[in-house]
């Protein structure tokens, strides 16, 4: 690979690193890249830079209170982590509840779309069949 192209690619990779890491080590990493690339070993440096980029972003995500499934640990920083855990729990409950409700044998649904001229709008409804029968019976 052309040296200037590889240097540009490495600078690009460095530029995508978190700002704190970049400020602390960016200049030194670039200096080492220059030294090492003189010996012609560029591809492993680029790969190393890409892996470093992934690690740094992964580390920031972990530190900001996300669930880490791979390592089996739950990092719950006060505030943000607790809120996220609550949101995740509620979402999971809502999804599971919906699936259980919809998959039940007594709950087949009757979708309908109605146009109302008085209030010019469409009404889209998803009612259980039993309810629909009841509604149809009571309609004039």
């Amino acid at each position: 690979m052309n040296r200037s192209v590889s240097r540009f690619a490495y600078r690009l990779l460095l530029g995508m690193h978190p700002a704190s890491f970049q400020n602390e080590f960016g200049a030194e990493m670039l200096w080492i890249f220059e030294e090492e690339s003189r010996q012609g070993a560029v591809s492993h440096l680029l790969l190393d830079g890409a892996l470093s980029l992934l690690r740094q972003h992964w580390r920031i995500k972990r530190e900001s209170g996300m669930l880490s499934i791979c390592s089996g640990e739950v990092i719950a920083n006060p505030g943000v982590g607790a809120v996220r855990l609550l949101q995740a729990g509620l979402t999971l409950c809502a999804i599971l509840g919906s699936v259980m409700f919809l998959s039940g044998p007594a709950h087949s649904f009757d979708p309908s779309i109605r146009w109302s001229a008085q209030e010019p709008c469409y009404t889209i409804s998803l009612q259980p069949v039993t309810h629909m029968a009841e509604i149809r019976r009571t309609l004039p």
């Binding site: 080590f25 030194e28 200096w31 440096l45 980029l53 690690r55």
Partner: protein
């Protein structure tokens, strides 16, 4: 095994090599890479990303620190280098010692097993 081994978990290969390189004296980043390559006869070569990722972790854990300013100033005055130098802290030395003890016990166990296998075959 050393008593400190329980509080120092096993080190990764990169971490071990970095601590080992710094045990010989204060070094800058590229110096560490070169020292690691020398120590491993060129078999293990750290990339700058791996090096600084691990250095950051080690510094956060208090095992490695910036070299004292007097050291860096001496290097600068001697026009040898104006780079950032890193040094092994007391905790870093203890972690390295405990890892060496751990590896030593692994080697002892391995030798014992191999001897047993050899005598069982004979």
């Amino acid at each position: 095994m050393a008593s400190g081994s329980s509080k120092n978990p096993p080190l990764s290969a990169a971490t071990l090599h970095i601590l080992l390189a710094l045990a010989g004296g204060n070094l800058h980043g590229y110096g560490i890479i070169q020292e690691v390559a020398r120590n491993s006869d060129g078999h293990y070569r750290l990339g700058p990303g791996t090096l600084y990722d691990n250095l950051k972790k080690l510094m956060d854990a208090g095992l490695v620190a910036d070299a004292p300013k007097t050291f860096a100033a001496k290097r600068k005055a001697a026009k040898e280098d104006d780079r950032r130098f890193y040094t092994l802290t007391r905790d870093g030395r203890a972690a390295l010692a405990s890892e060496v003890d751990r590896l030593q016990s692994v080697v002892t166990q391995a030798r014992l097993r191999l001897q047993e296998a050899r005598s069982g075959r004979a």
